[in-house]
Subunit: 178 residues, 2 copies
């Protein structure tokens, strides 16, 4: 039995739906140009890498995440006041993206998106998001964020227990036992 | 029949062999730390993203390259005087990396490395290299390089014809007909 105050259903990730929170990193529907004697197409400058505030520098890392299962209880979010943070899946596996508007984060009114596995995301600076959630298998992601001496992570414990699921049960969400 | 002045054999890519030209982006043998409540390992800051010279900014793009076949004739190299340029394979397919020391580039004395497909590379600023060479299938790569108004690409036409191959024929290289 899982007790939850709020149940949130996962939606497909799209640039439009994710726009308030950052960029979807993908080439579908994006312009390109041929380079290198027409052997290669460049899909240029796919997101705003915003890491230079306060003397910051771009840092490229790999995260290797253990998979989680749905439905998933979440109780915390985090945000980076000085930088964006980009995640690009290296194994083409779907992963979960959970974000919230600033005023709605603490009360647990989050949005949950499912990346196709060909889509990365770049959280805009100061956007509340859940730490990386891989699905299915141990999964590697390329990460582009900020290096610098200043503190760049705020954490938030939600006032409510949020359950993220692929399907909403019948009836009104709130106070559910699944 | 392929006429070549110089024949260069492909070697496996390793951090040690590639060190004069830049970084191999890989997690094998690298330190990591557990983050996100021990659900994820971070392999931090895997290469020097050197893109901030002269007011530059980091740019994240995707290259989609048509595959080439070996043996491969090459006649040109390029370099970026203001920035590094990183390539990370998104389909785990092996790809070819061709680089040269500054004084040896024009004469065709290049080095050819084969990435395992789990290895990316970051060419150091001002390092002569051949444009991206995918193998096997149309292949996507994540690229991190520099945005800015100043010109940042020099091209070099080699004085010789270089043949890159997986095996050297018997006898001395030079003036070979394969």
């Amino acid at each position: 039995m899982i007790v939850a105050d709020i149940v949130v259903r996962v939606c497909p990730l799209s640039a439009e739906a994710f726009a308030p929170f950052g960029d979807v990193i993908e080439i579908e529907g994006r312009d390109s140009r041929w380079i290198n004697d027409n052997t290669c197409r460049r899909f240029d400058d796919l997101t705003h890498i915003d890491v230079l505030q306060h003397g910051g520098r771009p840092v490229l890392s790999v995260f290797e995440a253990n998979p989680r299962s749905l439905p998933l209880q979440i109780r915390t979010l985090e945000r980076h006041p000085l930088s964006s943070q980009a995640f690009i899946p290296l194994q083409r596996g779907p992963f979960l993206v959970i974000v919230a508007e600033d005023g709605a984060a603490a009360s647990g009114h989050v949005h949950a998106f499912l990346s196709s596995g060909l889509q990365g995301v770049n959280y805009r600076r100061n956007t509340w998001h859940h730490p990386l959630i891989a699905l299915g298998e141990i999964s590697r992601f390329l990460v582009v964020d900020r290096g610098g001496s200043e503190e760049n992570c705020e954490e938030l414990t939600l006032d409510t227990v949020v359950l993220v699921t692929t399907s909403l049960p019948a009836g009104r969400p709130g106070g559910l036992e699944l």
